[in-house]
Symmetry: C2
Amino acid sequence: MEQRLSLISLGVKDMANSRAFYEKLGWVASASSTADVTFFQLGGLILGLYGLGALAAEAGQSPGSGFDGITLAHNARSKAEVDTLLAEAKAAGGQILKPAEEVFWGGYSGYFADPDNHAWEIAWNPFFPIADDGTISMPD
Amino acid sequence: MEQRLSLISLGVKDMANSRAFYEKLGWVASASSTADVTFFQLGGLILGLYGLGALAAEAGQSPGSGFDGITLAHNARSKAEVDTLLAEAKAAGGQILKPAEEVFWGGYSGYFADPDNHAWEIAWNPFFPIADDGTISMPD
């Protein structure tokens, strides 16, 4: 697995309120944001705000069951690499939270938990290009 | 607050085991790592593994009390900026978890929680330089 991070997703209870908080700090949300997700480009990675329940379900977890309320994502360069990286995580002692599958937003992703139950998504996302240096960016 | 992230810290129960997991994925820990913290340089940011209890205490939280087990850090360019950013976070509706103070590792830092209790550290760290583009790096 390349030594890089693509996205951090924070679970939120009230999207408008949480988005407004970060905007009050001076941050500008990406035009890729929707009613269900707010994206902020942070240098070469992306911070997303998602509904807490939706985020937990995505990661095959339930809120309150030790779920952090935060997920980390490593975007792969191909669908095949998603499968490879999840297999590597399992072989290293990680727990597969959700096998890779086609997902509603048009990508392909699965989740593993590290030894401390921190949830990592391994995703192929054709809409967020990965540069040679591993940074990712959203379309303008 | 500049729109960038400096560090992500994951709380761990068994440092050797958790460090070994990421190393099995092919990651190489920084020479700045110690018995108490393992650092991985991920492009322009740093992922750190810390003891869960120590991380919670750092952030003025206790494990199990809704603490994520993860903290995010935004490194400021000066001590004065730490104070400014914490005041901005408070004015935006954030909760101060720990006022800024001199810390044992030689920096100056405080914590706030966003509306969903995600903990952010605002830190001045003279040992991890911040580049003009906002990325940070550890000494070799």
